[in-house]
Subunit: 386 residues, 2 copies
């Protein structure tokens, strides 16, 4: 995130130009406020109007305390005279949500000041840097939908599995109305809580619906890491077990227990990162079930994919692909970047072929939730158009 | 919790009888298993068949690591050769759920091995000691109700407030059916997540309903610490702000947005600890709205209360009071014990006066969630009898 700052600092050090570093980096404004994700009554961590984050940890006898945010090596805190460990990131953080953790004397712990969010296969600390466009995911005085926790039977995994279902504000008003459904997946190391907690997808939908910008629809979110990849990598990923849970167990349960429109034109699937990979694989294999596809920082669909999938042009009503701009910069800079080919080129080629193909780039954000909040805000209004 | 063990140990030390201590304390069985509340893939903390808990923390450069469970001073961990801090409680813990935290080099942190639960006005670590009667709150292959997160408008606090609503398994099957409602409150320092997360009240209801032991009803849970007591004590408690939210805002919202039976005979209120105090105060002032009252480790209703409340005998269909047995032991031993008079004597006096008064004691549990899980299991079947 803070590559530029690090590069400037390194350049300054190498050329002996400490003054250069001092003039290039703006003065840190002392207008720090508690992060909105802090636990009740907690003053730290704080964020200032420039996006710098400041941390304060109580551990008077500790030897070293650092925070995983704020550049490649994180931010080392310094013990003040009052026994508190305190430190500020070397540069501003990107707008939006960031996971982080503390390293205290060589162990990994959460910051007791903040709420926790499931990522990296563990509950991590979270911090929120106010964004210029935060209004679209703010809690406002509009009618609110619900986030319903359901436990659905899964024969293939011999248990009751959890999912969350967003139902729009009018769902319990007109009991004869039926709704389209979006199945929405989290990324690697996250779980079915991510899209509501980190993504605020329920508030995004409430706000879009209140402004008349999207059709109301249900969103179903369940756990997508059903096999061995859980604590390994993505290399040996087998879509089979999750596809069985989603397509053979969850979808029929949702259609039987919620007032859905259960035909193909009214069912969409989207996902972020690994969830995009799952979406791509499952939808291409099940075009009799899904008509709208969203890949958020999770690959793209190429002309070859279209050619290899009989009926694609007739069945698919939308292919939405998005990335954070920093992910594309990484690619140009020789970094990992998007997988599965150039997403913009693929999106353009699909459009040329007459497919409803939309490519969206979130400005100045990385492989993080601010990219995905913005992406879902762009994606939702395009769904289930008559 | 482990007073007995401590007393035995102290006696042994005082009389110089180390052998006594060794013979009086049973050998610790090496059948430790990961707590069911551990984060995915985490091996520690562990619990053995006797209820001893064992902790293991990675913090190789730390000076001291201790756990707040396992007797008055908690459990000090010892650094092993591999750099892990490890330790076992001095005695067995009571059955059920316990909050705890770590103290690392003088700072308070959560155990990265476990899930977190909101208590003591912060997200704390949790551990589960398997109970002989854990079947009644187990996740089983029965039809499951939902836990619905709602955001309801609150003029008095100028915001949208969160509540969770348990709806029984048949709620979305017969869309003409209407249901009674129980308003259920958490304790001091907890929040609206406590009854589902720590209390497993949704699973208790699912299981009771599956066995035909209770009428299906809705349970509404919201945050009860709306005033200055949040980070102070209970001394200056003013019921006003919360009563306004509950009675004037939440109840009308629930009745307008869920299929409820909204008359007095079909509305109950209960709470644990501080939530019992709130229940007692609010119901006595609003007997036109509530017919069933549950106080769980949260005081009792005296004959004087009945005399001071016009219409009590006609309007109140049930007064349920419960405690964990260790809370009553504490009282006898000169400890704090139940507040507001002897709960058993009060319950007996109400019964004598012809009121449907039920007193329940949870065996071998303290002011903790196992008492309240058992209490709600006893309470639910008594509600809304025709």
């Amino acid at each position: 995130m803070n590559h530029k700052v690090i590069v400037i600092l390194l350049a300054a050090v190498i050329t002996g130009g400490i003054c250069l570093a001092q003039t290039d980096r703006p003065a840190i404004k002392e207008d720090f406020k508690p992060s909105t994700l802090n636990q009740p009554g907690q003053e730290y961590p704080q964020v200032n109007s420039q996006g710098y984050a400041r941390f304060r940890i109580v551990a008077p006898q500790a030897q070293s305390v650092s925070v995983s945010l704020g550049g490649r090596g994180g931010t080392s805190l310094t013990k003040a005279e009052d026994g508190f460990w305190i430190g500020t990131t070397a540069g501003p953080l990107d707008e939006g949500f960031h996971y982080y953790h503390l390293t205290i004397d060589g162990g990994t712990f959460n910051d007791p000041g903040t709420l926790n969010f499931y990522g990296s296969t563990r509950w991590e600390s979270g911090i929120e840097v106010p964004a210029h466009d935060q209004d679209f995911y703010a809690l406002k005085g509009v009618p609110h939908g619900r986030v319903q926790q359901i436990l659905f039977p899964s024969k293939s995994t011999s248990t009751s599995r959890r999912a969350f279902v967003y139902t729009p504000p009018d769902y319990d008003k007109d009991l004869t109305k039926r709704y389209p459904v979006l199945y929405l997946q989290h990324g690697w190391g996250e779980d079915e809580t991510a899209w509501s907690n980190q993504g605020r997808v329920n508030l995004i939908m409430d706000n879009l619906i209140a402004e008349g910008k999207t059709k109301p629809f249900l969103i179903v979110m369940t756990y997508g890491m059903t096999n061995e990849i859980r604590f390994g990598g993505l290399r040996n990923f087998d879509i089979g077990p999750f596809q069985t849970v989603l397509v053979d167990e969850l979808i029929p349960y949702i259609d039987a227990n919620f007032r859905t429109l259960s035909d193909q034109p009214n069912r969409a699937m989207a996902g972020l990162s690994m969830g995009g990979m799952e979406t791509r694989t499952i939808t291409l294999k099940n075009l009799d079930k899904f008509s709208h596809i969203g890949l958020l920082s999770g690959g793209s669909i190429s002309p070859e994919d279209v050619n290899d999938t009989p009926g694609f042009k007739e069945k698919v009503k939308l292919v939405f692909v998005s990335y954070g701009s920093r992910e594309l910069e990484n690619r140009r800079g020789g970094g990992r970047g998007p997988f599965g080919g150039d997403p913009k080129a693929n999106a353009d080629a699909l459009k040329q072929a007459g497919i409803n193909s939309v490519f969206y780039v979130s400005a100045d954000t990385a492989h993080e939730f601010q990219s995905w909040r913005r992406s879902i805000y762009q994606f939702a209004p395009l769904l289930f158009k008559d």
